[in-house]
Amino acid sequence: MLKTADNAVPVACWSCSVAKTPETLFCQHCSKIQPPLEGDFYSVFNLERKLNLDLAALEREFHRLTRKLHPDNFARATETEQAWSLADTAMVNDAYRTLKDPIRRTEYLLMLEGAQIGEEHSGKNRVDPSRVPADLLEEVFDLNMQLEEMRAARKLGETDAALEADLQTAKIKFDGLMADVDEQLKTQWGVWDQGDEATRKSAMTNMVSLIDRRNYIRNLVRDVNEALGS
């Protein structure tokens, strides 16, 4: 699926001068490498900004581009072309790593769409400081307290069967919470992919708060696993 922006002006290939689509790594006419893309990671793979992706197709495209960009192919090319191939390889790698991971992909898309997400928006840079619901904080704080008590007791009492069972129960609970969040995120992916502007906006808000919630639960899962020594 080839994407053309509304304001897409055909660009001439630097080598053969034939018009080409702006967002392409190689000229469709003479196959020469083009200057690095100015677009985002989706444009690297000519994809629309959607959250349900065909991962097998993405991987095939990644391998195809990586092969085409291999330094061996540019051994006799100009210095500029060699530099482009390196820059393109870096971008293709970053794009693939980001898009193949469901959470990173979601965070990336939210960021592209202007959501306030990531550490640079934490603290004073956060536009909406009331974003963390008080009840979620209470819940997370209580879960952390329980977990800490269990870990402290474990340190003292070594192998306490009851404690081990408590930790296992906690792990099942946290894993369950995580699975719930991921399930809800997937639902929002669908809303985003099929939605119009209004539903997309609400899907974005939902996904931002789900990602927040997920960060807290991720830490709990990590801590309980650590306590269990797994």
Binding site: E119, H121, S122, G123, K124, P129, L137
Partner: protein
């Protein structure tokens, strides 16, 4: 990333870890979180009703070393101050004292938010009119 000596000191010997009785009117509780990293911080103050001086402060933080050090330092600083004086503590003071790197500045912001939230909670309990700034932080 290397932590500064002061961070390591507060992290290995955190001051004032613990809990105050949240049901009494002299105690204000602030619970804040940074969703970006999943840190949660609770800071509590015990205020003398006559003098409005913060006589005791406790914290409990689940998070990285910088978050723990920031809240530990915050409890040290608010003790002995009046609530109004405590509101003048800025996250930048914490950054300076602990020599926090840029990526950890949000930990100091969290500590400042926690102070404001605790004072806001205490003011609400005691029917003290909130300053505009504290009202925002306590929401």
């Amino acid at each position: 990333m290397a932590y500064s000596d002061k961070v390591v000191d507060h992290y290995s010997n955190p001051r004032n870890v613990g809990t105050l009785d949240k049901s009494t009117t002299e105690v204000g509780t602030g619970l804040v979180g940074a969703p970006e990293c999943g840190d949660v911080m609770r800071l509590q103050i015990k205020v003398n009703p006559e003098t409005q001086v913060i006589e005791d402060a406790k914290f409990k933080t689940f998070g990285c070393g910088s978050a723990i050090a920031s809240s530990s330092l915050a409890t040290e600083w608010v003790k002995g101050k009046t609530v109004e004086e405590a509101l003048t503590i800025k996250n930048t003071d914490i950054v300076k004292e602990l020599a926090l790197p840029p990526v950890k500045i949000h930990c100091s912001v969290l500590a400042e938010d926690a102070i404001r939230a605790a004072i806001g909670d205490w003011k609400k309990k005691n029917g003290v009119a909130e300053t505009a700034e504290a009202a925002v932080a306590a929401k």
